[in-house]
């Protein structure tokens, strides 16, 4: 059994996702570098990974959020950037965890709208009533399907 010596001990890594019509990950990275103060920043296709001392990362994240508050989303990451156990450069294919992010990425526009609307309504607004359930589209009737097939064949 081989020994294990960890890298980046005592640091935290966070993902920054940007889903914005006015800011690309590249632009976000440039602006983040300006405010980074020693935090390691890696640009990705969806945003950034930032790694550093917890206080420095928190400070940078607070700064990054101000760039586009309702379109920038942040979460913790267990691994440091480029870790050979996770990096797709070593593994091939999508990084483990990427598909989960992709799934949630599709919902981010609703969250953005929610954040904007909640902010607009202010503190006193409570939780709005549930939207009426959408009508379910009826399934294709078997007789109608047969008619369509017959029409197609004739």
């Amino acid at each position: 059994m081989a020994g294990y010596t960890p890298d980046y001990v005592g640091t935290v890594t966070k993902y920054v996702f940007v889903e914005s019509p006015s800011m690309t990950p590249g632009e976000l990275a440039l602006r983040a570098y300006e405010a980074s103060e020693g935090v390691l920043i890696k640009e990705t296709c969806f945003g950034l990974q930032v790694t550093g001392e917890p206080e420095a990362v928190d400070h940078l994240i607070a700064e990054i959020r101000t760039f586009d508050p309702t379109h920038i989303f942040v979460k913790d990451r267990g691994f440091p950037p480029g870790d050979p156990r996770r990096c797709r450069a070593n593994l091939g294919g999508a990084r483990p965890g990427y598909l989960g992010h992709e799934r949630e990425f599709r919902i981010l526009r609703y969250i953005t709208h929610g954040l904007e609307e909640v902010e607009r309504r202010g503190e006193e607004a409570g939780v709005p009533d549930a939207a009426p359930a959408r009508e379910k589209k009826p399934l294709l009737d078997i007789k109608r399907l047969q008619e369509l097939i017959d029409t197609e064949e004739s």
């Binding site: 059994m1 935290v12 996702f17 942040v74 979460k75 953005t112 609307e117 939207a131």
Partner: protein, 150 residues
């Protein structure tokens, strides 16, 4: 600042909203980071060692498969630490093998048994539900004690 367990534990949306509204999200990354940054025996890919299923005995019986106990060694301490929880009940991204599925069931059971305040939601599928989703989380988190109040 309250410690809020999020389910799915890898959720970007929940992690962001909890942190955005001033609390600490407790997700899988914290448990994984702790193991990745601790020296010991090389046990890739997640540094889950044979010790973990033993630690998991605190949260699951000995006849429960070691895969579930090993996973609970990561999530169990986070659930113990949690002061509240936000659960998305229709999270199809939380699917996995049988070990993941059973662990997910045990996580939800443990959270509901713990007696901490829990908010259960579904992911939004349109803009109106998005407003409702965000407002519900904001209201729930606002009811939790802030830093120094606890």
């Amino acid at each position: 600042m309250a410690k809020v367990f999020i389910y799915p534990a890898t959720s970007l949306i929940l992690s962001d909203l909890v942190a955005r509204f001033g609390h600490k999200p407790l997700g899988a990354a914290l448990g994984i980071r702790e193991r990745i940054q601790t020296a010991g025996i090389d046990s890739p890919p997640l540094q889950i060692t044979p010790e973990e299923p033993k630690r998991g005995l605190k949260y699951a019986a000995v006849e429960v498969p070691s895969g579930v106990r090993g996973r609970m060694a990561i999530y169990g301490p986070l659930i113990e630490e949690a002061e509240a929880a936000v659960i998305v009940t229709d999270a199809d991204l939380a699917f996995g093998c049988m070990g993941c599925a059973r662990t997910d069931e045990l996580i939800l059971f443990s959270l509901r048994q713990s007696g901490i305040p829990i908010l259960e939601l579904k992911y939004p599928t349109n803009e109106d539900e998005g407003v409702q989703f965000v407002a519900a989380i904001k209201t729930f988190l606002a009811s939790l004690p802030k830093e120094g109040e606890a």
